[in-house]
Symmetry: C2
Subunit: 280 residues, 2 copies
């Protein structure tokens, strides 16, 4: 089982989707099993601008910055993630001969999200309280529907949001959704695709690619990492600890992106020691 | 098996969805099987206005008027039908205890659409040719995925568009999708819900409701019908001819809309003669 997360960057459009589709068709024909999770951040940002929904960034007392997701912003998320991008990807996959089925975290209760009843913090230095934030974390995943589809030859193509209380959609992180599903499904590989060759020591320099991180001794990699890369390395280490075979950060813009990542192109995170038992 | 088409009018919002959800939960608990198809026309029109995509109405040489669906308009359709409305309905159904799964006609190849390579006609009296129209007709339905979900206790919630050649989405009529699925699934009842009590002799007068149409002798009903109602009556007659038990046009704004329609409230179309053998 391979879990494939396709990032939602502006550089990852229909041409990239077609590369994923033909590559995946060949891998599925060869007997591999896969689940795809995708983002849609560029499409979401574009629609938010068109609908005049500027991002409201809230800084918590502990300094964490999060985007406040009101009901109109959640609608824009549903429209781009579950509508435009999910169905465009499904159409391209099907045209390549992949029996694709597009789903959100709400469908079949795949991902249950939890939100805080009240979001407190500062916006542009001013104290604010929001009571209808639609952002949250993944509380639980249910892979019953995914297993049913896989067992009948379908390729599930999943996307945030998750399902919250009273049926309200909850904005959850797509990378974390992929991680939770990889752990629950006991994936042999979890592949993260974005518009970079992998994890870079210097984000402005594509030649600074980190080729391998030993999950049993990640200290040097973490020491060299900064910003968003720390989050990604820690997420990968968490996946390995939960029994995922390997995590690869690789380039979504390659011609055969999945085959290439499986052959080790990008940043490979695995343990030189026997994998820890799954925490699930 | 009941096929439920929920119209996409502005009066059919979250409050109506909640009525459908509790009613359906009770009917499913009582052993009924159902498939829901929904529209999203009001949300689509609103987004089209917000994105400055005015409708381009093309009149063919035979006088038929159709909306030209360019790529940007199709994106707005994906966003509202498959994104906002489909997932809002799934969330509300799940909150009521229905194990709902939202899908478009693209997913699992449920509906295959066909479009004309070239759309010719006049727009505001001026001759025009369009080569990238995304509107078309349903060529084929495949209920394999729907049967799989029903057999495992899920409620499929479907919406246009359909899947065209090369994976391109095709704008098809939601009523016709419901009809094709009802015929293919051999439904005992096909229920159309909109923001009227049923078929009206006079659209401005809700007391002019047509209570019953005999599919074996529809001439008087057709003679009294006009405009959009003729299309609906002819569609209902076609469904009966294809083996659907009965067709009911009923009110989406009622408290228990499905139970009410099944008890005969609205316009009931059925045959006093033995049903004709299915043409499928």
């Amino acid at each position: 089982m391979i879990i494939i997360k396709i990032g939602g960057g502006a550089a990852i459009g229909e041409a990239a989707f077609r590369n994923f589709a033909t590559d995946l068709r060949d891998l599925l024909d060869a007997g591999r099993t896969a689940v795809v999770i995708h983002g849609a951040n560029a499409a979401f940002s574009q629609l938010s601008r068109q609908l005049d929904l500027p991002p409201v960034m809230v800084t918590s007392s502990s300094g964490r910055v999060s985007r406040y997701t009101d009901a109109a912003t959640m609608d824009a998320m549903l429209m781009t993630y579950c509508g435009k991008v999910n169905k465009t990807l499904v159409g391209i996959m099907r045209a390549a001969g992949v029996d694709a089925v597009g789903l959100s975290g709400l469908d079949g209760g795949i991902a249950i999200g939890r939100r805080k009843p009240v979001l407190r913090g500062t916006v542009d230095g001013k104290a604010r309280i929001f009571r209808d934030d639609h952002a949250g974390t993944i509380a639980q995943v249910d892979v019953r529907l995914i297993r049913l589809l896989l067992g009948n030859g379908y390729l599930p193509i999943l996307t945030p949001p998750a399902l919250g209380e009273e049926g309200v959609p909850i904005n959850v992180d797509g990378d974390k959704l992929a991680l939770a599903l990889a752990a629950e499904l006991g994936a042999e590989a979890l592949l993260f695709f974005s518009d970079t060759p992998g994890l870079l020591r210097d984000v402005r320099d594509e030649t600074s690619l980190v080729r391998e991180i030993d999950a049993a001794a990640p200290e040097s990699a973490l020491a060299a990492a900064s910003g968003r890369m720390v989050v990604k390395v820690e997420a990968a280490l968490g996946a390995i600890a939960q029994g995922v075979g390997e995590v690869v950060f690789s380039d979504a813009r390659a011609e055969r992106p999945v085959s290439r990542a499986l052959s080790g192109e990008g940043t490979v995170v695995r343990s030189t020691m026997t994998a820890a038992p799954s925490q699930f």
